[in-house]
Symmetry: C2
Subunit: 296 residues, 2 copies
């Protein structure tokens, strides 16, 4: 399959849906909507929604049906970037080559834009109810699992641990916990959401969730490697920031070679898990392999 064309097509699908959820101007509080829009359309890869759609496809589901959930996942991801970039957090001025939300607007607006995106994510999930008539319990299960993945038991907790770990020597086990919570949880939730809403059996959902876990960890290792080896222009951000911030990373703890080898092994294990799903899971396998060669 042509992964590049597949990703472009899916990205366009997600972008159109997101545009529908968040028109450029609406209501009196236009400034916060403008800021939400600015960050939501800052050129993201749409990896989480694409994972969600591909997981639905892998169980024979209709990708269009899970589009609201896919958009919600991207909104949650974007909110987390806006808040993580704030001066009190990672204090980043640039994201994907453009000023971060608080630089483009101001801190108060950025905080509110993040809050607005997080809230809207849950609203559009619940608002998808008519598509799931008779399967409302499934939709509620998805809202619950996304909440768990995004909240203090997941992403928020991981960001807290990451901040607490800065400048401190941490163990390999601590590093794994941070990444499993900070980025892994939402990536895994994206796959699981697609599997559930796509109508997968419990066995299929279990397989795909396990794949999602391997994917999440592989993603983080390759993210750390990019920060060491990456090119500023391709990445749209400054490499070497982890080292400068004395952040714990896989290359720092394991070395680059071992990290790359481990990433390769992990995603291979994940791809093998998908065997029972046959050809329908091919996009998901390709997205997994792509992690090893990604440049941004």
């Amino acid at each position: 399959m042509d992964l590049k064309a597949y990703l472009a097509e899916r990205r366009a699908l997600v972008n159109r849906a997101l545009e529908g959820y968040l028109p450029r101007v609406r209501g009196p509080a236009f400034r916060v909507v403008e800021a939400m829009h600015y960050s939501l359309f800052a050129g993201g890869k749409r990896l989480r929604p694409i994972l969600c759609l591909a997981a639905a496809e892998a169980v024979g589901g209709d990708p269009a049906e899970v589009l609201p959930a896919a958009c919600a996942l991207e909104m949650i991801h974007t909110y987390s970037l806006i808040h993580d970039d704030l001066p009190a957090m990672d204090d980043d001025d640039l994201r994907r080559g453009r000023p971060t939300c608080h630089k483009q607007f101001d801190e108060a607006t950025a905080i509110l834009a993040g809050d607005g995106l997080l809230t809207e994510a849950f609203r559009i999930l619940a608002d998808a109810a008519p598509r799931f008539e008779g399967r409302e319990a499934l939709l509620l299960e998805v809202i619950q699992l996304i909440g768990a993945a995004a909240g203090y038991q997941g992403m928020v907790g991981g960001q807290m641990l990451d901040l607490l770990a800065e400048g401190r020597q941490i163990t390999f086990k601590e590093l794994e916990t941070i990444h499993r919570l900070k980025t892994g949880a939402l990536l895994t939730a994206s796959v699981r959401t697609g599997a559930l809403l796509g109508g997968g059996t419990r066995a299929e959902v279990t397989i795909l969730t396990a794949f999602g876990e391997k994917f999440g960890l592989t993603f983080q290792i390759t993210d750390d490697l990019l920060d060491v080896e990456g090119d500023a222009a391709e990445m749209g951000k400054t490499p070497g920031m982890d080292a400068r911030r004395r952040k714990a990373t896989y290359p720092a703890l394991l070395g680059q070679e071992k990290s790359r080898e481990w990433a390769r092994q992990l995603i291979q294990e994940g791809i093998e898990l998908l065997a029972p799903l046959g050809a329908k899971a091919e996009p998901l396998r390709e997205i997994g392999r792509y992690l090893l060669s990604r440049r941004s």
Copy 2:
């Protein structure tokens, strides 16, 4: 009825339920949970959950059934206070006589604690699904309406407008819009949620929502009056802050006497709407009357 005893009993009920949702220590990211706990148990009146329970009662529902939604509303309210108090927003050091979250912890932790509470609110709403077997669509309707009330079309939008209005002369109509969004939307949503989950008919839900709108506006007027007339010790915060910040208020625009008269008239209209509900709505009427005499 003895409103004081009623409120104390309901507050205790809500507090026990909240404790169950957020044990003092859980998981590895303890610091953010500690901060969430700190702000959630800072001595709030629990007005939104109590409104939600009273609305369920007013339609003959079981208050215990709507307790998860009541707790979710309080979590959302608490998150909004934490974020509003941040230096980039209202920059408040004290809340209910105690250091605000970012003063007690730090800014990053306070941002994350707010994010964590907002996310957890939606998670526990969805997690209440087993209580609503066969009525899952109703629960999804509630999640959607709370999301709309809390997000950019409601509370977040109101806070944005409030920040934009600071130090600027605004019209009476603008002031109403700010308050309808910033505080009114979530108060109205609290009443509507109780009415829906309590099993009210559509006619009852409409009546209670209209009451909630009057209640929300009355609440804001009496809040503004307290800032002019209130006692720092009883309020647990410094009065006169609105004037010092040149914030638009009802007393500033209408005068104190006219504001008080208008509040009295509004809540009276709201109470009259409740007539068809009979004695079951008495707690809600009493809570409405209490707005006129509240000291904090």
